[in-house]
Symmetry: D2
Subunit: 349 residues, 4 copies
């Protein structure tokens, strides 16, 4: 009963097969391989962005830090939420890659509000040369707490960023889950809503380890290539990254997997909702459910082999007395329905 | 009627004389000059710290950024208040010099509270390698809003920092004003209260441009010297920095100037307190007064040549309608009493 | 007839199988996976280093830059040869990761000589705080020109580095080829010869993309983990890196592949040596041959589908007139013998 | 008899007077002061560059590192000579401020030759994304070995830099000495010869500590201002930097001082030239003389109070036996002629 993270899951058979198939004889290194040509074409078609610059890296931290460093300058501040992965889970990677840019936290929680952003960014340069300068705005779609931004919400935030001459970046580690949940087109949810660059995650949704970075405006594409190289993120055998992404984007696998993960989460929520003592931080939009439950229930689930992440790490101590715990339960596309139901039954027992 | 900032003021005649006197013939460059030997001895004696490593730089930003970079590592977070100069007024200098460390803002406003710090720092490393690691704590004494930390307040914060193995740094751009205001010994207010390193400002209190950096524990002194050099802050003619600091620390000039500035501020507060429509953000501890006053009064004072800084820069537009403004009035040691009284009279008119 | 680079080659079937096998169900992310435990044990056993800290990354640039940044400080200079990959082919990755360290080039060409190193490093800090400080020494084994350092040569260089308190790092992108060529034990050629840390390449020798970083002295292991994370090189699904390395180190696959590559190169050299007009830059020690040949021969080979890298890129212009060209021919483990013979026959034609 | 360095010398009385005069009452901080307006006008007039962006910092390392970081990108290489101050004496300041750019050393010694530069820079980007990219070229005028570039030499180097789209920077720590020696106009020797940006040193030629940074093309002026601030090099009491530079540039003081220093050096050379056993590394162009002399003469001069710098620091050990020593003798503008003659007499004794 593995709900700890979607990065605990396996790669999808179609992705594995593509990696096998890519292992035939010799191919050009460092990104000029045949599969990469196809990936570029696939992403430009899927996002209806024929000019887009498309690159692959192996981790989400690399995708975010390299893209943001390319969009920002060292004396600027990025704008993101307090729960943003780039703020909490990347060990200062954005600060490192950007050469010392700052992160200004907007609002509270995981989801940014356009008006709150405006209130923060508008007076930002009042101190002239003394203060950090305005920089890119970064959204996470779906958010770190499993919620989606609608196209309208993204557009409202993009308007604020653009009003101040700043680009909007989308951390799309789980973008597929949002598109599957919202049922809108990739183009509508991104560049048509004002997103200037994004990452498209594959690792958490059926790949071994690959993320695409997409610049809808390719003006700084060469700078990105240099940053990727000096960051050590240009693969000599790039074909093995490209093969994953190629299969991932073929026959809608990326959306099929995301829909499966979302459905698993919905089933889990449905099962847990009526359980006495259980409450949700909020209704899940995609594949992550945040559940507050009695400590006794938590102990029972753990003892029975239920795996999930306690949001307040301090509560991880099972021996510790105290009130309810807040658990993050992430559903992978590969999760067997029977496992979900068994988990729910245990909780309800 | 110049209350805009103490860095608008002149240098003290005794400091100027010392600079003249240092201009005799040849002296060794890069910090081995005779005046520097004396400055080192003076600071060790004044702070009762015979082992202290003592250095000079020309700006407060250099002092803070170099000292904090020496105390921190790039993957750590510093801890300071939202009003901290290092967070708001140094254009990411701490992030730059540290190689990408983060600043985590503790509490609200200008003054850090030990318990609030503990609540922030205690769970800080729950995310292991993924999150920023704990780093140094930085206090500003006196604060950016003109308040002092008592010895007990400093000690309480130092205890929290030390409980988590982190050093306490004191941004002492206006440390002299705090010592003059509190009437305690430099040693008691700093290393005896747990401060591990500090800057001692001269620029805002009668010097041309000099700040001392003091490490009570000299373990990383050589690293600081290398950072100062590669930062371009090692002066070939260091004697002209040393001469300023030498005079500043002689015959208690640094405390005489600070006391004069504090007295000027007290006189200003006394004069403005009874004026209808005037309120203070808080009672001033040192030489900075934060005054809320009707916009009409502000216009009258400006028109008559009253100079001060509007805390909300957007209010700077005189034409703009609206409610009261919040003004920062900083009193320099050199301010003529008559000027203060004239300003008060204008406000009361 | 593909001699352009060993990173053009496929992954070994045993490695692919291990990746398949690792794709079963759920495993812990970020390096606590089961395959990683085995890789750590394998490397400690193979190198007879029970205390060694062992990590995996996906690229050679990441391995070098992260390891060197961990061993160096920003105000130091690294020491390497003018042909070193870290100096010529990593787009300033060492400077970037180290926070601004310098590379001082020792001697000429690809192979460092202990006495030349001593002559460079001995007077290095004569300028005190003004000059860059001494830092780690980096060797590439086998070198960028396909030569090996003997155990004695490594030890002599290590002695110089250690005489000045600096660690010796070995860029082992092709270390397997050197061990296979020299027939000595991994321990003898590395830590017993004074190597303090190294990278062990898999990518160029039968893997998809994986390099091990080994610190024989684990003192800075945690710092490396933080640097790897903030560099974006910590894989969530680390098991897919570990599976590659596990298979690579099982049943001597890493040495079997290296020996095959070396044998292919020896066969190529044997075939080309008697061809009129052909000379070698030097006899190959491992799997890279540097061949000087008449331009006409070069044109003929290119036309017939012979692929290799022209060392002087300017010569790549086939239309260009002029004397002989210098070609780098790298032999992959997977190269069919018939292809080598066909290539030789073409050259001799 | 002080020939160790021109940074051992005093400030000129006219400069000191200007600093005194600037210490009247209140002035705007951070560079908007009245003296700064005049300095900007003076430099634009002297260099016949009405559009030039002009800034002041306090050290030569700050001027070079900030200007070069503004002109370069982190993935580029700067080009300078092996003797360049930025390469040997700034503890990696250029690497630090640029965010990890590399320095490629052109030729040997102190003076760059256009053809040698072309041979280095032309094939520089043959490795594409893998190698460092071309960056700015930096000249030191006068060189670290006391020689001047003629206008024609500067122009030839500028042509090479511009042919490859790179700017030419001039480290002008001793630019005044070159202009005084060559007798050409500041404009002819700089922007008319193709120099894009430069530093104009005051510290070594009669100031307390001030260097101007001039961008003939102000396109990146705002970036420089942000870099200066975050580097801690923006002075709150900038008026004390400006006052020095203002006096320095008034009534030709900068050229008067430089001419005096050059004349002192010529007198020293004239006196030492006939002394048996004395040879010059080359004839001095400005105020630095490099003298090879017997060790016994060196001992005698030292014992008698002769101060200079031994170029091979290892020779500094007086007890050490061995052949002749190479001494750098720098003549300050303030050096009494009698001291020079006494020194010469001692050498000839």
């Amino acid at each position: 009963m593995q709900f700890r993270s979607d990065n605990y899951g396996p790669a999808h058979p179609e992705v594995m097969q593509a990696v096998m198939d890519a292992n035939q004889g010799y191919d050009v290194s460092y990104g000029d391989d045949a599969p990469m040509q196809q990936v570029r074409a696939q992403i430009r078609e899927i996002f209806e962005a024929p000019e887009a610059a498309v690159y692959l890296v192996a981790t989400g931290t690399a995708a975010n830090a390299l893209a943001l460093a390319t969009l920002a300058r060292p004396w600027q501040s990025l704008f993101c939420t307090p729960e943003a992965h780039i703020a909490t889970d990347e060990c200062n990677a954005p600060e490192f890659y950007s050469g010392g840019a700052k992160l200004t936290l907007v609002g509270a929680g995981d989801k940014m509000d356009a008006e709150t952003l405006r209130a923060v960014i508008a007076p930002f340069e009042a101190r002239g040369v003394h203060g950090a300068q305005r920089g890119p705005v970064s959204l996470t779609q779906t958010t770190e707490l499993g919620r989606c931004y609608t196209q309208a919400e993204v557009a409202a935030i993009a308007d604020v960023a653009h009003d101040f001459g700043q680009p909007l970046y989308m951390d799309g580690a789980r973008l597929a889950n949002a598109i599957a949940a919202l049922g809108c087109s990739p183009a509508d949810l991104t560049h048509r809503a004002g997103v200037d660059a994004l990452s498209l995650g594959g690792t958490k949704n059926g790949c071994l380890g690959v993320e695409a970075v997409v610049f809808f405006n390719p003006a700084r594409a060469w700078e990105f290539e240099l940053r990727r190289k000096r960051g050590g993120h240009l693969f000599s055998k790039n074909r093995f990254l490209a093969a994953q992404m190629q299969a991932y984007l073929s026959d809608g696998l990326w959306l099929r997997s995301a829909a499966a993960a979302n459905a698993n989460c919905a089933r889990l929520a449905e099962g847990l909702r009526p359980v006495p003592g259980v409450t949700f931080l909020h209704e899940p939009d995609a594949n992550a459910l945040f559940v507050r439950m009695p400590r006794a229930m938590h102990r029972r689930l753990r003892a029975a082999g239920g795996h999930y992440y306690l949001w307040d790490a301090e509560e991880a101590d099972l021996a510790r007395e105290g009130g309810p715990v807040l658990a993050r339960m992430v559903c992978d596309w590969s999760l067997p329905v029977a496992e979900i139901d068994r988990f729910v039954a245990l909780a309800a027992a």
